[in-house]
């Protein structure tokens, strides 16, 4: 048994080392933050999600889609039913053909997915100098470093391009973007938005809040997942202990 435990620890170490080695694969080391949802008991900070949503709504959503999140899901970041209806109705979407066969536009509803700012990808790229703003629904899971990558990217712009780096016309230098030349202009700056809860909107604060919101958008199940996990683990610990006791009991006469 002792051997087995040692082997398990060695294996865990190997796995962890390979994970760390893989994570270290991309460019400059990322800025890291202590996120509220990390760790065994981590949970989203409701107030932060709400602030992050403000940033997304006022800034990001002008160019980026969030196609996997429905307006109704925003209840989880603290929007009331009325607020959800209002936000949904801000944009229009093609309705089903009416009785005359005409396709008319109608305001969005709570059940709709977050309506994209552009009718299609080509239009989105054309309006952004040829670069398609990626959908943000899964951004926190789709990049190495996850939330730390988003946070770093937000704060990684440099006004002066470091020597040796070539940045084409219309692109910007970002320390953490692969290849450094990013099409998105710097977005985050002090007092870019004003928070309803009175939090000072420093650029670090804004970067943190949008990161939290996007992590929620990618992993909306996280709170439920971790809380169910704790219950399951306590149950399994007791069950396994009982199995072990029973095993000792049954085996005690075998020599």
């Amino acid at each position: 048994m002792r051997k087995l435990i040692i082997s398990a620890l060695v294996a865990a170490g190997l796995v962890a080392a390979s994970g760390a080695a893989q994570a270290a694969g991309g460019g400059a080391p990322l800025l890291t933050e202590k996120w509220s949802w990390e760790g065994l008991f981590g949970r989203y900070d409701q107030a932060q999600l709400r602030r992050g949503y403000t940033v997304f709504h006022d800034v990001c959503s002008n160019c980026h889609s969030l196609s996997l999140v429905a307006y109704r899901n925003l209840a989880a970041v603290g929007l009331t039913e009325e607020e959800i209806k209002t936000v949904a109705a801000e944009r229009e979407i093609a309705d089903a053909p009416n009785d005359e066969g005409m396709v008319l536009m109608r305001p969005g509803r709570a059940s709709d997915k977050y309506i994209s700012p552009f009718p299609n990808d080509k239009a989105a790229a054309a309006a952004n100098m040829g670069a398609l703003p990626p959908d943000l629904s899964l951004m926190a899971k789709a990049r190495l470093g996850g939330p730390n990558y988003i946070y770093s990217l937000m704060l990684g712009y440099k006004d002066e391009v470091p020597e040796g780096a070539e940045i084409p016309e219309g692109k910007f230098y970002n320390t953490y973007f692969p290849g450094h030349a990013i099409s998105m202009p710097p977005q985050v700056m002090d007092d870019l938005v004003s928070y309803a809860d009175g939090t000072a909107a420093t650029k670090e604060q804004i970067a943190k809040d949008i990161t939290a919101f996007l992590n929620w958008a990618a992993e909306p199940e996280l709170d439920e997942r971790k809380s169910l996990g704790l219950k399951v683990m306590i149950f399994l610990a007791v069950l396994t202990a009982l199995f072990y006791a029973l095993k000792r009991q049954i085996w005690k006469d075998v020599h």
Binding site: S18, G25, G146, G229, M233, A237, V254, H255
Partner: protein
């Protein structure tokens, strides 16, 4: 076939006509098992347990999954977001695949250490290798289904391997794809086969257990069951031991599911497949990395493909490549060391498989590949001739019974690990 006495008349009537009850009693209760099995013998039943978990979660996933290039990615995300406990089912399935491979790799290395592949267990070993191959095919096709970037490009790279074969290569690839690129027909057939193969594996596991029960389990001493004192009935001794193992394993498994569900995954697979954009670094899932390293170690494409398949084919011949008369590494002082060197070589190959094929990684992969094959083709045949094994105990019971004879001196093992 069974010492079972059925008291219920209706059941006895049924059992005389179809002996399901006595058969289950024979192989699940009475089955005489060596009494000295250690915890490394838990991993076979654990793998069987995970197979059931995979099939069950898979059935529920299929109820909500759509196998079409334009819908697959979002249908998986709908499972994650809108299906009740869909995230749990999907994360169980996703991490279950990695768990299955961890358990099976441990099961295989246990087998190598204790020489379980040797006579009379060669066919049992073969069936095991076929299960392993089927698992690899199933896992590969399953990884394609979410239709993310790594799904698409992984499928492209791996299916392209077949194009290395002269003349028939290109037609084979076109036939596999169902077209001239990885596309909707590929996704559809992979989905179909991904649903079929687990049931084939299930049947193969049945054959594996059948073969096992015919030749009986090996044990840490690697000697045969000689007297009734050497064995104990499977139930309750090993049923409870396996249940305890399942409890421990579930805690390990679910720790990933609940707290690090994407630990084994690639971030790129959360980007929808795009044939126009190649990811900078295409890597297969971790459990393929050692074989991927062997594939890339050879400068020639066909050579690499042949060597990669050869790395598994060679296992079929192991019972004859290993010339030692002694099964367990406990009594083989040299093999005991070389086993760990081989183990380290496999881990190293896995590490190299995850690295780009450049710099020192290339010669290191080549050296590790050479050692992999040398272990089977040179070391194993020679070792049996030169190694002086320690004296074997007279029986399984001998080393643990007090004053069990001089033969026990060499067996410093703890055959009855009470944990």
């Amino acid at each position: 076939m069974s010492g079972l006495k059925i008291n219920n008349k209706a059941l006895a009537w049924f059992d005389q006509r179809l002996p399901i009850i006595s058969m289950m009693h024979h192989s699940g209760v009475e089955y005489p098992t060596p009494k000295n099995l250690n915890y490394w013998w838990n991993f076979g039943s654990l793998a069987g347990f995970v197979l059931v978990v995979m099939i069950l979660t898979g059935i529920f996933l299929v109820m909500n999954y759509t196998a079409h290039t334009s819908l697959a990615f979002n249908s998986v995300e709908r499972i994650m977001r809108d299906v009740n406990y869909g995230w749990l089912i999907r994360y169980l399935h996703m991490n279950g695949a990695s768990m299955f491979f961890i358990l099976v790799y441990i099961h295989i290395f246990r087998n190598l250490y204790y020489g379980s592949y040797k006579a009379p267990r060669e066919v049992l070993w073969w069936v095991g290798i076929i299960i392993f191959l089927s698992m690899m095919a199933t896992a590969f096709m399953g990884y394609v289904l979410p239709w993310g970037q790594m799904s698409f490009w992984g499928a492209t790279v791996i299916t392209n391997l077949f194009s290395a074969f002269p003349i028939v290569g290109e037609p084979i690839v076109t036939w596999l794809w169902g077209g001239f690129a990885v596309d909707n027909p590929t996704l559809n057939r992979f989905f179909s086969l991904h649903y079929l193969l687990p049931f084939v594996i299930f049947a193969l596991v049945f054959v594996h257990v059948w073969a096992l029960h015919t030749v009986k389990s090996n044990n840490p001493l690697g000697i045969d069951i000689k007297t009734p004192q050497d064995s104990i009935p499977f139930h309750p001794y090993y049923t409870i031991k396996d249940l305890f193992g399942i409890g421990v394993f579930l805690m390990f498994f679910l720790a990933f599911v609940f707290w690090a569900p994407n630990f084994f995954g690639e971030p790129d697979n959360y980007i929808p497949a795009n044939p126009m954009v190649t990811p900078p670094h295409i890597v297969p899932e971790w459990y393929f990395l050692p074989f991927y390293a062997i594939l890339r170690a050879v400068p020639d494409k066909l050579g690499g493909v042949l060597l990669m398949f050869g790395a598994i084919i060679v296992l079929f011949f192991l019972p004859w490549l290993d010339t030692s008369k002694v099964r367990s590494a406990k009594f083989r002082p040299l093999y005991k060391q070389l086993f760990w060197v081989f183990f380290a070589d496999c881990i190293f190959l896995g590490y190299l498989g995850g690295k780009p094929a450049e710099g020192w990684y290339v010669p290191a992969s080549q050296a590790a590949t050479v050692y992999y094959f040398a272990h089977f083709l040179v070391i194993m045949p020679l070792l049996g001739k030169f190694e002086k094994p320690r004296a074997l105990p007279a029986s399984i019971s001998a080393p643990v019974l007090k004053g069990g004879g001089a033969a026990t001196a060499g067996a410093h093992a703890q055959p009855m690990e009470k944990a």
